[in-house]
């Protein structure tokens, strides 16, 4: 039982070049898989394919197989996958439905679509807001939020479906350090509490260092490096692949270069 990509090749409609070119990845429940890479490496495309939205909603050609708990995404419709795999996009403005009067109703959008009973919707919405500590936003207009607040609301709108897997495309791109830490804590808590598997694309390797157990580095639509997070984030090849190592790794390198020994606590 896991989210599995086998020999996945994906080409956007009208494009001659494959955005993903032979991807093999496994996301186990209860683990966090970090994905990093330079721009145009295929990270966002990987998110769409893993969540079953490509090619189902945007067309294109998919080769290989993507399965979510043994259900092939090619044989399921997106709404069938909604409670199995949630996805969060970079831009919260397009993640929000644009039809809700309050944040509470925005978060309730997805479970309402699935026709869940009202008392269950109330319970789920309250839990999702509490998980991200944004209960105070419940009565606010979703169109009048800051970028960071909107991102947290968008994430709550995904968490509310309690999917077994989460695909997050740069969930902290619009968040300040405090918001970033909050999301990191919420995701860690989510994994511990629900056993969800999370695939998270992130440029902030400091966040991944404390969150992900494994890391995959994409380059040109392929997995260039993958393995335990501590090994990959300290790999000398990381910078050449367009990824900045975490601050701890950079500090250690700088200290080593200067001949300074750091205390073990660093």
């Amino acid at each position: 039982m896991s989210l599995v990509l086998r020999e996945v090749r994906y080409r956007y409609a009208g494009s001659a070049r494959a955005a993903l070119d032979g991807i093999d990845l496994i996301l186990e429940p209860g683990t966090v898989l970090g994905v990093v890479g330079a721009n145009e490496a295929g990270k966002s495309t990987l998110c769409l394919v893993a969540a079953g939205l490509a090619p189902a909603t945007i067309g294109g050609r998919l080769e290989g197989t993507v399965t979510i708990d043994d259900l092939a995404t090619s044989s399921a419709r997106p709404h069938d996958l909604a409670q199995r795999c949630g996805i969060l996009f970079q831009n919260p403005a397009t993640q929000l439905s644009g039809t809700a009067a309050t944040v509470w109703e925005e978060v309730a959008f997805a479970p309402r679509n699935l026709g869940l009973p009202l008392d269950e919707i109330v319970d789920r919405v309250e839990s999702a807001l509490a998980a991200l500590r944004i209960e105070h936003l419940a009565e606010r207009d979703p169109q009048r939020l800051s970028g960071g607040q909107a991102q947290l609301v968008a994430l709550a709108g995904v968490l509310v479906l309690r999917p077994r897997y989460l695909v997050l495309d740069e969930p902290t791109s619009q968040l300040d350090p405090l918001g970033t830490r909050l999301v990191g804590e919420a995701l860690t808590g989510l994994v511990e509490a629900t056993g969800a598997g999370i695939l998270v694309v992130e440029h902030k390797t400091d966040l991944l260092a404390g969150l992900a157990a494994t890391i995959a580095v994409l380059a040109g639509g392929r997995v260039a490096l993958s393995g335990p997070a501590t090994d990959i984030l300290a790999d000398d090849a990381l910078e050449a692949l367009g990824v900045e190592p975490p601050s701890r790794v950079r500090l250690e390198r700088a200290a080593r270069h200067a001949g300074v020994s750091l205390p073990a606590a660093v």
């Binding site: 996805i87 397009t94 309402r112 699935l114 919707i121």
Partner: protein
């Protein structure tokens, strides 16, 4: 119809709020009155002769009918806008079992307008920061619209694609009835009034089609 609108507006205590809407119809009504009263084709029953032009009773009657229709239409739209928020309209449509696509189109359209305006302002400010002149002479303003239109339209189209994917991922196409979360008070009096207005409108429509009200506004 005007009687129904006035009665509804009085019950809702929004009489004063109608004034700007009424004022907004003045240019259109003035042009209707002038054109019809003075230039009604084939009318010979002159009210008075003013040199080369002469207003006619037939033209004045036609102008009055048309003007009343314009006022009734404008006031009915104003009545809806003043008494019903977009959120309540969408929620009530939903409660009555309207399709989720119709509800989404209505709801998102009503909420999209202010967002598009905000985006236009942002793009204008960005273009101005790069030295584009968007003020002053009318021709300069027209030229300023061209670089604004591209980002606004293409940005909106890109948004639509992402929004579509996000909606699908949130179960928008699920083939079940959407859970309603709002209810509105609906007294017996309101229900009776709605039925009376609806049946009355249909009766008037039938009579009008039958020609019995041909001479009335």
């Amino acid at each position: 119809m005007l009687g129904v609108i006035v009665g509804s507006a009085t019950a809702a205590r929004i009489g004063r709020a109608f004034v700007p809407y009424l004022l907004a119809t003045i240019p259109l009504i003035a042009s209707i009155l002038l054109v019809n009263t003075f230039l009604y084709p084939g009318a010979t029953d002159r009210i008075v002769v003013l040199g080369p032009i002469a207003p006619t009773w037939t033209g004045l009657e036609a102008a009055t009918q048309a003007a009343l229709r314009v006022v009734a239409f404008a006031m009915s739209v104003a009545l809806l806008g003043l008494t019903t928020s977009a959120d309540h309209l969408v929620a009530d449509l939903e409660r009555r079992g309207a399709g989720r696509r119709l509800i989404f189109v209505v709801g998102s359209t009503l909420r999209m307008v202010p967002r598009m305006i905000e985006r236009a302002v942002e793009i204008t400010e960005a273009q101005r920061a790069r030295g584009l002149d968007t003020e002053g002479h009318a021709w300069r303003r027209v030229r300023g619209i061209v670089p604004l239109a591209g980002p606004l339209i293409f940005g909106a189209l890109t948004d639509v694609e992402e929004l579509t994917m996000a909606l699908e991922a949130r179960g928008f196409s699920a083939p079940v009835r959407r859970t309603a979360i709002r209810t509105f008070p609906d007294s017996p009096g309101q229900r009776i009034a709605r039925w009376v207005i609806g049946v009355g409108a249909l009766a008037l429509l039938a009579l009008s089609i039958g020609g019995r009200l041909a001479g009335l506004p």
